[in-house]
Symmetry: C2
Subunit: 95 residues, 2 copies
DNA sequence: TTTAAATATCTAAATATTTCGATGTTTTTG
DNA sequence: CAAAAACATCGAAATATTTAGATATTTAAA
């Protein structure tokens, strides 16, 4: 199934990726075999818990991460479909 | 030649693309056959000239556009190499 | 050579984002 | 059931971005 993004979605995704912490979160989640949790990611940063929560929320809101509540944990994986669709959009700028 | 972007460059590019006007500028430049000038782009927007100048500067600074002074005009084209490298980075998040 | 056109730069206001601490909610554990 | 763990939300300060108007610069045209 091919996802096509609206311009608003492209903007939101770009904005979500325009931050060093959020880029690093994406890389951590991408590099991990299984699901990642907030507390796993938080351990890698020197940021307040509320700040981490905020960053992760932005990635989820932009559909870059797919999250799933598991008890008191929040587990997430990269949304491959959306990442691919975003890359496709960028590539479409190069004709 | 394959360009590989630093994480700082990826951040800067994402930030540059995280704005509706700048996304539209990229699309206009991408869709045009030949070089585009500031005044061509400006005509499509309802923004002050200084504001347009600022947006275009950000795209150039992020290396998304290649600019070339031509008399009193500034002509530019999409930087295909950087766009492709950016799309590759995004795709690398999907393993 | 004065004038106009295209763009850049500066300043400042308005708005948005980032960050933290405090506190709230939900779920697990003792 | 009380305490702790994981995360969310709120409020506020610090910082960054967006925008416009005024002005400067550079080049082309009259």
């Amino acid at each position: 199934m091919i996802t096509s993004l609206s311009i608003k979605q492209v903007e939101k995704i770009s904005k979500a990726l325009g931050d060093p912490y959020r880029l690093k979160i994406m890389k951590i989640v991408s590099n991990s075999e299984s699901c990642v949790q907030c507390c796993d990611v938080s351990a890698e940063f020197n940021l307040a818990q509320s700040t981490m929560s905020h960053h992760i929320k932005q990635l989820i809101d932009a559909d870059l991460l797919i999250a799933d509540k598991d008890g008191r944990n929040l587990k997430f994986v990269v949304n491959k479909e959306v990442c691919t669709a975003y890359a496709d959009y960028i590539n479409s700028l190069v004709l």
